[in-house]
Amino acid sequence: MKRWPVAIWLAALACCVWIVMAHTRFSTDMAAFLPDSAAPAQQLMVEQLRNGAPSRMLLLALQGAEAEQLAVNSKKLARALEASGHFAYVRNGEQALTPAERERLMQYRYLLSPATDPAHFSADGLRQSLQDSLQLLASPAGVMVRALLPSDPTGEMLALLESWGGAGSGPGLQGGVWFSADGKRALLLAETKAPAFDIDAQQKVSDEVRRIFPATRSSPQVELLMSGPGIFAVESRNRIRDDAWRLSMIATALVAAILLLAYGSPRLLVLGMLPVASGALAGLTAVSLGYGTVHGITLGFGATLIGEAVDYPTYLFTQRATHESLRQTLRRIWPTLRLAVLTTVFGSFAMLLSGFSGLSQLGMFSFAGVLTAGLMTRFVIPEIAPSRLEVAERTATRALLVHGAAALTRLGWVPVAVLLCAAFYLAARGNTLWENDLANLSPVSQRAKELDQGLRNELGAPDVRYLIAVQGSTQQAALERSERLMPALQTLVRQGITDGFDLAARVIPSEKTQAARQAALPDQETLRRNLQAALATTPFKPDIFEPFLQDIERSRHLPLLQPEVWYGTPLGSLAQGMLVRRGAVWVALIGLRGVRSDAGLAAFVAGLHDENTFLLDIKGESNKMIMQFRDQSLLYSLFGVAAIVAVLGLGLRNFRAVFPVMLPVSAAILGTAALLSLLGVKLTLFHVVSLLLVLGVGLNYGLFLSLPASLSPDALPDGERGKERQRALFSTLVCMASTVSAFGALAFSASPVLQAIGGTVALGAVLSLLFAAMRAKP
């Protein structure tokens, strides 16, 4: 036994473990799907998805008891959630605005009010305002406005309160808190402090809410419903993880059973798992060294892609001839096995060059992983395997296989026919082949989606799909542009295209606007004169409006309202989230509530003919982004295929020999895609990645089934050739069976992603082997 390969392996293993444990950071960031040269809209969209205010929104509802009881519970829950420290704010309708917000609105009312202009404070303007105030005082609302009247006879504060906390800005009230229209659910809205993309943090928040809730409810009948992007992210991840965990257990057991049956030795089973495990670790280390963070998709897809490496030791163990040592077997099969490894290594290398960080990480993972597994199989396994190896012969099975394979060779035309028909069919389907709506891939249940839509409608929470982005070279320029859109947006609301809109400029008007309003405020003497003139015709006492005069005078010298003034309030978080900096550009975002017409909205923004204003369709953009990623994956897979053909040509020293190796697997891949499509499945990125694995394993079947015959036709006596063929058939069958059972198990997942990967790989592996056997020389 040579010790140095084992020593290197162990040292490298220890190194990898240390790097992964100490340095690897994982992320589940959408940014992985972004190309380096992403359009600003896409970058902005990803940012919003990752951490925009709508993404951090938590929608809550209480139900299951009488309205009165629910109202009490809602108040208690809101207090407790606020106290938990996890939320920027919690609102349940008790107070449309916090006391701090009211105070600031009052203080800055003349700078904030769109009504502030010189005419408003002329004698005529004041006369009109006073007349309105008098009517208001005499009305049923009079009792409420009375206290405010001496300092606000022109009704600025009322208008601001109305626009921020009045009807239409939230659901109806019952018992002082928000309720659904049917009065069955008390509604709450909260914004998590934790970023939306941090699923662990989001999970912690939702666990915390579930923990707090029972202590605040008055009876066990009261139920809590939760929804929002964070909840969805947590649910998707947990569903996929639970499914993946459960099904991997089943898959592992199945694979172990098959390999145990094939080898007849538990020890070999363990040895056989070492290369792929080491490969995964090496892949992880390489990615974390090369990129800093490892994306969740790299891990998930990478683990799928290096599934091929499970086969390497299988080829080694099952190709062993009687009385042969593993080293002797290796010497014999290494040229073929080396090609099997190198084709995948170079195929992955092509992906590594992609401009998408997600895709290039995936290439890196698979490159390092497969290379490691190949080297392990070649240099380490023979050293650590027991010298007196007992591998089951399975003579009967082998004999049966030979008969079956001989029968299959008569169907040599089938792969060609499948290849042609599938290629034709796929080309004819064109774009209808693909699933272009990401939502259909979400493992989140339909019920959860409906609940979300229901709560969103009732709460009047901002639409998570659309934003209007207005950009400018400075913060002020962006604010000014968004201010100019306000009249048009109001028209949009009147036309019923959307229920409402939010923009930062309502909370922090641009300095230009504020300064103009400030300049419109008359000096004290003028105002006093105007007020006196206006008062003459009203029954108001002349001296009660002193507070008004003082407030106007104060407002004239007020420093302009800055965003900091709002910090720590819900309005502040709105302003902060809606005014973002992107490099040298500032973007003012306009949130929309209850969009009723997608087409109407698109037409509105297009009709503005303003290159600085664009509609951000988050759903559309993210679909587009995944589509781009998929197309890139396809493109780089083609480069990969080219690299594989080159490797094969060089390895076989004969480019014409490449064709028989590539034909079966190509037929299998196109056949699988066509069959899935015929079954009504729309293909996705996940299918593409799965087909890459099929390419990896299927190519190996072709290599092992066609090479012994073609590589060295005269090297072996006839009897040996027959045995070699037997062994090749047996080992490819074992490899195929283990791949099918491992991935077949995933096909039973409820999550569309795992289902796609599992079904595709299993089907592709079966077809690859069948076609390879059909094309093998008898």
Binding site: Q135, A138, P140, G142, R146, L149, G172, G176, P539, K541
Partner: protein
């Protein structure tokens, strides 16, 4: 003799309760009155006089049409309130439950006129003074939001007819409304 007399007056008193009054009011399907209202406020030099008509119809319609000194039409039907100022061509529609205080305030009239005891009790502690010929319905806000603005509402009348509505605000302002029923 004294005992019998006491028992008898007690019995008579028991017959004319708030429930009995509301029941009697509930039997009237609709009605219309002219009113004059006097609002006294610390903000005003002199009381503000206004007048107009008040109409109601079962189950949940109430309209206050101010005609003098300015025109204003306030309509409540079910959940919705409409506020119209014809001179300014302004019309606002809003949901009552968005304005709990205004809602409670309006129910003092609407629920009383419709004899809707349940709704009335939702907003007020209800007490009845006097007898059938001359009664006073005293409404004390039970909700703290409303109690912040309104101290008490007193509605007086005779049998199933309302004569006056008096509102006392916590600010000290008050309004007094006199109603004169019209045959429809």
């Amino acid at each position: 003799m004294t005992v019998t007399l006491l028992a008898w007056t007690g019995l008579a008193h028991a017959e004319w309760t708030a429930d009995a009054l509301l029941k009697a009011l509930a039997e009237r399907p609709a009605g219309q009155s002219r009113y004059t209202e006097t609002k006294t406020s610390a903000l005003l030099k002199e009381p503000l006089e206004s007048s107009g008509t008040l109409r109601y119809k079962k189950p949940a319609f109430l309209e206050k049409h101010v005609q003098i000194p300015f025109e204003e039409i306030l309509t409540v039907d079910g959940e919705r309130m409409t506020w119209e100022k014809p001179a300014a061509q302004k019309k606002h529609t809003m949901a009552l439950r968005d304005y709990p205080v205004v809602w409670g305030f309006i129910e003092s009239m609407r629920a009383t006129l419709n004899g809707d005891a349940k709704t009335l009790q939702r907003f007020y502690k209800v007490r009845l003074d006097g007898d059938e010929r001359q009664w006073v319905l005293v409404l004390l806000p039970s909700d703290s939001g409303m109690a912040q603005f309104i101290r008490v509402i007193r509605i007086s009348g005779s049998k199933a007819r309302l004569d006056t509505v008096e509102i006392e605000e916590t600010s000290g302002d008050r309004s007094f409304m006199a109603l004169r029923e019209e045959t429809m």
